[in-house]
């Protein structure tokens, strides 16, 4: 759909998992949901987050693929691995900074969110965005998202790696980019625990 963009806002996610079920319904990958659904911290909070693929401008998963199986289309969508090429080596799974690609053991193939390119190409919204009741996953025009308090950004920093994406993430108003360093999220005592005394 021309002029429409995908916006992710985990702060709106209510954990209903409608997106997960809706994604499973798709006939191209029936029974396998391509939504990455996370419980943030089950001990502390009921917060959940549902993610689709961000469709990076320079996709790391495709860069690391030794079999040249992951391809980006002209519409900017990074597709699932090509079945005749994928060797299920899991390089993409390890390399993707967002943790999106999944290996499906029964197919020996990597499958990932392809933003329902079969639907969006003919003017329909992706499955997950049609069912999300709180619009944590929204496929709308930029002017329709502008009234929200959070502002969209598609620039991410993973340590030194700068990643720009097709899908937008809703971020606090004055934040231009989202910076994530894995070291920030490790348990404080972890480092010391593995060091020799």
């Amino acid at each position: 759909m021309f002029g429409y963009e995908f916006y992710l806002d985990p702060s709106r996610c209510i954990g209903c998992q409608s997106c997960v079920r809706a994604c499973e319904e798709c006939e191209t990958h029936r029974g396998h949901s391509m939504i990455n659904f996370d419980f943030i911290d089950r001990e502390e909070t009921i917060a959940t987050a549902a993610y689709v693929c961000w469709h990076c401008d320079d996709p790391t998963c495709a860069e690391v693929c030794p079999a040249d199986a992951i391809k980006k289309g002209e519409d900017g969508i990074v597709h699932s691995s090509l079945k005749p090429r994928c060797i299920a080596c899991q390089n993409c799974v390890l390399a993707c900074p967002f943790g999106i690609p999944k290996i499906v053991p029964e197919y020996d193939q990597m499958l990932k969110c392809d933003m329902c390119y079969d639907r969006t190409a003919v003017g329909k919204r992706p499955m997950c965005a049609t069912v999300c009741p709180s619009q944590a996953l929204a496929y709308v025009r930029p002017e329709d998202i502008a009234h929200r308090r959070e502002k969209p950004t598609n620039i991410f920093y993973f340590g030194n790696q700068r990643v720009t994406t097709k899908v937008f993430m809703m971020a606090p108003e004055n934040q231009e980019s989202i910076s994530i360093d894995v070291a920030d999220y490790t348990w404080e005592g972890e480092r010391e625990a593995f060091l020799p005394a």
Binding site: D58, P59, A62, E63, D68, I70, K71, K72, G73, E74, V78, H79
Partner: protein, 171 residues
């Protein structure tokens, strides 16, 4: 060694294994089968064209042309002339007082010009030692497989004229 350096800073593998599907330079199965179908279709049409053309030009019409100076040629002598047009060289041999034979001068092997060998009484090709009978142009030796095309001759009012070309395809 600067000559062999790549102009772009991108590594070669990045270009050859592009992440963009549009840059893929492999031939897809559909592309290949399309190529096969279209090529065989073109071959079929071409063969059909050759068949139709040969069907219509099975009996070509040759002009009647006077051979200048045939009477002045001595017995056992040779006269070159062009027939049916100026590009086609032919060789006339006077074998008897009233006997003439004429053949195309192009050897049927690789189109070298044949000449008349008086001592062996045959037409010979200097290129690969091919030889043709003076009686009917059939192959006597050498690599040619087909006999020389024979020019049919007629006496009309005291003048020798060429009336056509006899092409035999088998030896």
């Amino acid at each position: 060694m600067k000559l062999f350096c790549r102009p772009s800073s991108e590594p070669l593998w990045h270009e050859e294994f592009s992440v963009f599907a549009a840059d893929e330079r492999y031939v897809s199965r559909r592309q290949f089968s399309k190529f096969l179908v279209l090529t065989s279709l073109a071959m079929f049409v071409g063969n059909l064209w050759i068949l139709v053309r040969s069907w219509f030009s099975r009996h070509p019409v040759y002009p009647v042309a006077r051979i200048e100076g045939a009477a002045e040629t001595p017995v056992g002598g040779v006269k070159l002339f062009a027939y049916p047009d100026s590009g086609e060289q032919c060789i006339l041999v006077r074998t008897g007082e009233n006997d003439y034979v004429a053949y195309s001068q192009k050897c049927t092997h690789l189109s070298c010009a044949v000449f008349y060998s008086r001592e062996k009484n045959r037409l010979e090709c200097p290129c690969h030692n091919g030889a043709f009978s003076i009686r009917n142009g059939s192959v006597l030796q050498g690599p040619p497989r087909r006999p020389l095309p024979r020019i049919t001759l007629e006496q009309r009012g005291g003048e020798l004229v060429a009336t056509g070309i006899q092409i035999r395809t088998e030896a």
